[in-house]
């Protein structure tokens, strides 16, 4: 468990204090994939680096598994860092070392295993990330996605309990992003690893995260399970991120729907409800006719969800609303 207790950070630039993170408290449970989303300068990168003290907090405590990380001396900190893997946007692989030597580096630095044991571990890790045949290559000979897989193998080499991901997919194309995210989800599931990732893409959050914190101007403005935050965003920043992901402009949509007769509602389905034949049933029972104005059916991590904007016309409107509300569906009346 990672706990931020009233942690804050200010940078001193040219004699002036610039706040990067306002006092923040947050708990990240074991085994979770926790996402921090925000625009650049929102403080998410600072927050991530505070966990392994690549950034020193200006105040507050960070407690990992009951131990106060902020109180560690340099030896304790080094041992702690060996249990926290980290991957980076630009991979940060050593160009002078082969793929195998890059993956071996954390083990060599830790100095606890023999060369033979290290080689065995590296072989296992490269097999896990699907790069066995590239062991002798140099990073420059690999594609971006392969480089990030090397980064992941390297981060996992010391069997860490926490993996920090610093914009790990931001330099990758969409297809490669998907495969890297899949690998991260797999690792989280199989190794019971806690993953903290930062990103500026809601899609990344939607695909792999369990919980998300939305950051803006040095503070967390929204926090919760991904489904809740994603489907019912409250804060303006969150709404913007969700709209970017769905490529929907709410204002444009409002104009388009202006000419549509009847009531307009937005229904949000989650889990099994997504596939239930609710619309047809309600239409038949209440005589309310519907047309679908906008909609999306997709998955949030492993949970299917649907979000439909409907125009409803005729029939017993009150009864239809009651039916929707009674079913396992979230209804918002837009007009």
């Amino acid at each position: 468990m990672i706990e931020f207790q009233n942690v804050h950070k200010t940078y001193r630039v040219a004699g002036r204090d610039i706040p990067a993170l306002n006092p923040t408290s947050l708990t990240i449970e074991d085994g979770q994939v926790f996402g921090l989303i925000g625009h650049s300068g929102a403080g998410k990168s600072t927050m991530l680096r505070l966990i392994n003290r690549l950034e020193e907090p200006s105040g507050g405590k960070i407690v990992v598994d009951g131990e106060d990380v902020t109180a560690f001396d340099s030896n304790q900190l080094r041992r702690f860092r060996q249990q926290v893997g980290m991957i980076f946007q630009h991979f940060n692989l050593l160009a002078s070392k082969t793929v195998a030597d890059n993956v071996a580096l954390p083990l060599v630095l830790a100095g606890e295993l023999s060369r033979g044991e290290i080689d065995k571990r590296v072989t296992e890790l490269l097999a896990r990330v699907g790069l066995s045949e590239h062991a002798r290559k140099y990073p420059a000979q690999l594609s971006g996605g392969q480089k990030q897989r090397v980064g992941i193998a390297r981060a996992l080499s010391t069997n860490p309990k926490i993996l920090l991901c610093d914009e790990a997919t931001s330099a990758l194309d969409p297809q490669t992003t998907a495969s890297v995210l899949q690998l991260l989800a797999e690792i989280n599931r199989e190794l019971k690893l806690t993953i903290v990732l930062i990103t500026h893409e809601m899609d990344v959050i939607r695909r792999v995260c369990d919980r998300v914190a939305v950051m803006d101007a040095g503070q967390i403005v929204e926090l919760g399970p991904v489904a809740d935050v994603f489907l019912h965003p409250q804060h303006a920043t969150t709404k913007r991120f969700v709209q970017e992901d769905e490529q929907v402009d709410e204002n444009e949509q409002r104009d388009d729907f202006a000419h549509v007769p009847g009531r307009i509602v937005r229904l949000t389905f989650q889990g099994c409800a997504t596939y239930a034949p609710l619309l047809g049933t309600v239409a038949r029972e209440t005589g309310v006719d519907y047309s679908i104005l906008a909609g999306r059916i997709d998955r949030i991590k492993d949970i299917p969800y649907g979000q439909l904007t409907l125009a409803l016309i005729g029939g017993d409107m009150e009864a239809a609303f009651a039916r929707f509300t009674a079913a396992d569906v979230h209804m918002e009346v837009l007009r």
């Binding site: 690549l54 860092r81 630009h90 940060n92 050593l94 580096l105 630095l109 420059a140």
Partner: protein, 223 residues
């Protein structure tokens, strides 16, 4: 005129001796320069702004010493150093008398080049190594130096070539070498033939050094 007969008066034994002296001065000095300059470069790098031991005052002191030595013309340094050279080698003359000033004169230059080469290493590499729980020593030896290897080799090449031209001045303390030979025979005795031979040999030497350096840089670049 027959080209061979033009060079008939060249004393090839003298040329061989001079080449030998130049090589000895070059490689022994270079060895000491690397031995002293590499750590100095690492230290400069570590104390420089935004690096691991960032320290304005220590860096300013080191940088000032380095700059002072670098700003003394080598020919002056050669003479100023005489008492110290005698202390170190027992003589201020000959090849042995030239090596200490060559080392002192060129080490700061090399250290600066090393500092620059180390600074070229992506900060992300240092951060990644830190995140693995590396000590500063490990960060330097396991990450920064291997990553900066092409830059360091380029620095050694540039330094070696600078040394070649400095050895020419070492004739002032009677160190001999190709440069000295070309001044004494070629310039002072108007033996243009000797001048041509020594200059050609110097050109070849510089070309060979540059070629070896470039090959090594490519080998270590892994790109």
């Amino acid at each position: 005129m027959d080209i061979l007969s033009y060079f008939a008066n060249v004393d090839w034994v003298e040329i061989w001796q001079a080449t030998n002296d130049t090589m000895v001065m070059l490689f022994i000095s270079l060895a000491f320069i690397i031995l002293l300059g590499l750590p100095l470069g690492v230290v400069l790098f570590l104390f420089s702004p935004r690096q691991m031991f960032e320290h304005k005052k220590v860096y300013a002191v080191l940088a000032t010493i380095v700059n002072i030595v670098r700003s003394v013309p080598f020919i002056i340094l050669l003479i100023v150093m005489i008492p110290i050279t005698v202390l170190i080698t027992g003589t201020s003359l000959g090849v042995a008398g030239a090596i200490p000033p060559l080392v002192v004169g060129t080490t700061p230059f090399f250290a600066r080049l090393v500092e620059t080469a180390l600074r070229e290493v992506d900060r992300g590499i240092i951060e990644a190594t830190q995140s693995m729980g590396a000590t500063t020593r490990q960060i330097i030896f396991k990450a920064v130096l291997p990553e900066a290897m092409p830059g360091i080799i380029a620095a050694i090449t540039v330094t070696a070539i600078t040394l070649v031209s400095y050895t020419a001045m070492a004739g002032v303390v009677g160190a001999g070498g190709l440069g000295d030979l070309s001044i004494r025979f070629g310039y002072q005795r108007f033996q243009t033939d000797v001048m041509i031979v020594t200059v050609v040999l110097l050109v070849i030497l510089v070309q060979v050094l540059q070629m070896i350096g470039d090959k090594l840089v490519v080998h270590f670049s892994r790109k």
